[in-house]
Subunit: 261 residues, 2 copies
């Protein structure tokens, strides 16, 4: 039975936690939301590198077997710094790049992300490392995170916004879309409505799931036990607690704990 640590600057990474916990319910999970220091997207690489070390140390002190960095900004810095840690540390960028290339025939790939993710060009670099000839078209989609945080998911308004961001990429002929932000899987059904029910969408939880079990095959072994989910936040408000409940539901979790880092 493994203990898997997941962290993000906020609650978006809960989609990753949820995806992994649904696939590997026999394992335990610890999630850390660094809500006191969010957003990471506007901070310098050296500051984020410092947060990475602190968050990984916190999870290590809880004896996790591996860490998933479920945050695009922190993943970008992780990829750049090429640093060694005492335990396996996974990012959300590379698995998305691998999975997108696998699904694409035209090798034209669309990426939706926050302005920071798009500006970092991390997905372009990760895709070109595997296939230098692939065409990558990016679209910053600033409204999607606030729409998820408002809880306006099954909402015609949100469909209109998703259409607005997605159509220019589809018009360019992309045949796969990377949902390049951990908040976006919440909107997967909306993307599927807009792009078509069988259009390939690559989200971080699914792409990560495949990569994890490839690198650590024992994860898929049955243990006969049911794992627990513990959630920590560096800052906690009632709205945040409600948001966490909504995002993790219907999975059971223990009460959210506040921690100072």
């Amino acid at each position: 039975m493994a203990l898997i640590g997941v962290f993000d600057s906020g609650v978006g990474g809960l989609t990753v936690l949820k995806g992994l916990a649904e696939s590997y319910p026999q394992h335990d999970f610890i999630y850390l939301a660094d809500t006191a220091r969010l957003p990471y997207g506007t901070k310098s690489a050296s500051t984020i590198s410092n947060y990475l070390d602190k968050n990984i140390s916190f999870l290590e002190s809880h004896k996790v077997d591996l860490v998933v960095v479920a945050c695009n900004s922190a993943s970008t810095v992780l990829l750049q710094q090429n640093k060694a840690y005492n335990l396996p540390v996974f990012n959300v960028i590379e698995p998305g790049a691998v999975t997108a290339l696998k699904h694409s025939e035209s090798k034209k790939i669309g990426v939706l992300g926050t302005r920071a993710t798009v500006q970092s060009r991390a997905y372009i670099q990760a895709i070109h490392k595997i296939d230098p000839n692939a065409q990558v078209h990016q679209m910053p989609a600033a409204l999607l995170v606030p729409l998820v945080e408002e809880g306006w998911v099954e909402d015609p308004l949100t469909t209109m916004v998703v259409l607005r961001y997605t159509k220019p990429l589809l018009d360019l002929g992309v045949d796969v879309l990377i949902l390049g932000c951990t908040h976006y899987p919440v909107l997967k059904s909306v993307f599927q409505k807009v792009a078509g029910p069988s259009f390939p969408l690559v989200d971080s939880p699914e792409a990560l799931k495949e990569m994890l079990v490839q690198k650590i095959p024992s994860l898929s072994e049955e243990t006969g036990k049911k794992g627990l989910i513990k959630i920590f936040c560096t800052d906690l408000t009632p709205h945040l607690e409600q948001l966490i409940q909504n995002l993790i539901s219907p999975l059971p979790m223990q009460p959210v704990q506040k921690v100072d880092l």
Copy 2:
């Protein structure tokens, strides 16, 4: 001829700068956007108090005659701390409260703001300090800032979002709405469409204009000169520069300068 300093954590306060510069074109203006440290809304009062001191010192070093804190979070801390500065410092909360009470007959006042502003209850306190019997109904409106920053102003989508946030307040019988965030004046025509063309809307630039000239009557004197606008940012990206141009237009300004604070 006066030199007026204005600051905000980001670019929203440019609506205040623009309103003041249009009313008092004979004076000079310096604007500071503390973009390296935004958002203030999620930070503690002691951290914001520290930023306040730094930003006011920066403007003082440029020999401004007065400072306008065109940021709701910083204004809230300014009101709480009751600290004396070497020059007059104005906030955006009190003028809104005064103007709203002046316009309201039913003494039912609606306030729209970011989640941080709503949680701070700063408008409620400022209104109750003048009229303890006034009813204040608040509504957090998280999507409005990203909509303005996307530049989606004349847009049916934005009208739908504004309607969504405004209708519950109108249904409660408020007869005046405070646009309690410096980004919102950009959406004034949308609010006017939704609430009715003559519905009283109180925005920070207008409310401030009245209060400033009341306290410093010389501001309205004609000097025969044309003032200059200088803009400083603590962090600068191409998107930000474009956003500043859009928000300040059609007023002329000198090239944006980056400054380390």
